[in-house]
């Protein structure tokens, strides 16, 4: 469940300043450990840029933390970390060779990275409206 503080923050940032009951329900059902920009964008029906702004505001206010994950060529997430420099140098991926799965070790720098957000477990100590 996402925190009320986050939902209130979003309410302030969305066009019109309020969230519908359905939007609240869908936002509340997101996995607080892995929230993608597209999750928020699609629920609120806003642009990608607006969704990023909402999530980055939540980060600045200490409600969310930013994370980064690395994807293997087949799209599987191989590793994640709080910051790019904390990702492993290489990751373990799977490919297929003559119909059989095969393991490969690939350099992280050559792979696609995706930003995600997660609820800051320590956010309760930060009062609503305070910037981190």
């Amino acid at each position: 469940m996402l925190s009320n503080k986050f939902l209130q923050t979003i309410s302030k940032l969305v066009p019109g300043g309020t969230l519908s009951a359905k939007e609240l329900q869908l936002l509340s059902s997101l996995n607080p450990d892995k929230i993608y920009v597209e999750n928020v964008r699609s629920i609120l029906g806003v642009s990608h840029r607006s969704a990023v702004r909402i999530l980055e505001t939540a980060v600045r206010q200490g409600l969310f933390k930013r994370g980064i994950e690395i994807q293997c060529p087949d799209g599987t997430v191989a590793a994640s970390a709080d910051a790019e420099e904390k990702l492993p140098v290489t990751v373990h991926c799977w490919t297929e060779e003559e119909g059989h799965p095969k393991e490969v070790e690939l350099p992280t720098e050559s792979l696609t990275k995706t930003t995600f957000y997660r609820l800051n477990d320590e956010s309760d100590s930060i009062t609503f409206g305070q910037t981190a």
């Binding site: 799209g75 599987t76 590793a79």
Partner: protein, 282 residues
């Protein structure tokens, strides 16, 4: 076993290079150096005692190699093949298992300057019989010929592959691919293995799931685990806890009787145990 004795030193060296370095060092402890040097030194001796020793080494250490294993349900009259395409039997335990070496030629194209070439391998294959099953175990040949040359190289094709070998040895009609779903699911239910990615059949689609950061489906996605218990499994990757086996991971296509060992395993016989446990519970 003339195929090994009559092979070139380079062919025997490449054959030995399919095996883990630790096992080579254990068998030939007096030979020092890198893997390539140890393999060359062993391969250079073509005397009968050395060929016998190499053959015994292949048989005893095949279970530690990367392997593709095909399991067939067998008719009681199915027997071990006397020969295989492009190869010959090099060791036999009558009625139980036979070890074969197949000669495979890769057609290659070298660059800078452009030149055609051939790269030959002796390919170890073992066939085993149990009361119910016929098991064909192919050591996986490395697909990186660049390591054998000091210039860019491309593989154009090869003279024989697993499909061709299997086609011939199953031509009798006495073998059919074993369905391993029951055995695999029993080990999964017992917590001996957990899957990180699976492909399975639903009533209206073929679905697949690959867990983030190789998390186990049973541990982290119990709803999916419950759903796939009733579904035919296709290509699925499993992990085994390190304290239970040196086979840390393996792939399987249970509906088609296929198991793949994608890494070297440290302990002799650990892949044998995985196969045996799947079949015992099947």
């Amino acid at each position: 076993m003339p195929i090994i004795q009559q092979a070139t030193i380079e062919d025997r060296k490449r054959l030995l290079e399919l095996f883990p370095l630790a096992n080579l060092r254990q068998e030939w402890p007096t030979i020092k150096g890198l893997k390539e040097e140890i393999c060359y030194s062993v391969a250079a001796d073509a005397t009968q005692p050395q060929i016998d020793k190499v053959t015994k080494f292949i048989n005893e250490n095949l279970s530690c190699c990367k392997q593709h294993v095909y399991i067939f349900s067998r008719d009681a009259s199915a027997t071990l093949p006397t020969t295989v395409p492009h190869g010959e039997k090099i060791l036999e335990e009558p009625g139980v298992r036979s070890l074969y070496a197949i000669r495979v030629s890769y057609n290659i194209v070298l660059r800078d300057p452009l030149e055609d070439g051939v790269l030959e391998f002796l390919w170890p294959v073992r066939i085993e019989l149990t009361p119910q099953y016929f098991i064909a175990r192919f050591v996986v040949l490395e697909k990186n010929p660049s390591s054998y040359f000091d210039r860019p190289v491309y593989v154009g094709g090869k003279t024989v592959d697993e499909k061709a070998v299997l086609s011939e040895i199953t031509a009798s009609g006495l073998l059919s691919p074993a369905d391993l779903n029951k055995g695999i699911k029993k080990l999964w239910a017992d917590g001996l293995i957990d899957s990180t990615r699976t492909k399975y059949k639903t009533s209206i689609s073929t679905a697949s799931e690959a867990m983030d950061e190789e998390r186990g489906i049973k541990e982290f996605n119990p709803e999916l685990y419950a759903a796939v218990q009733a579904a035919p499994l296709y290509t699925t990757v499993f992990q085994i806890p390190e304290d239970k086996s040196s086979v840390c991971t393996f792939s399987t296509d249970p509906s088609n009787g296929i198991i793949g060992f994608t890494r070297y395993s440290e302990k002799k016989g650990d892949t044998d145990i995985v196969i045996e446990q799947i079949l015992t519970n099947n």
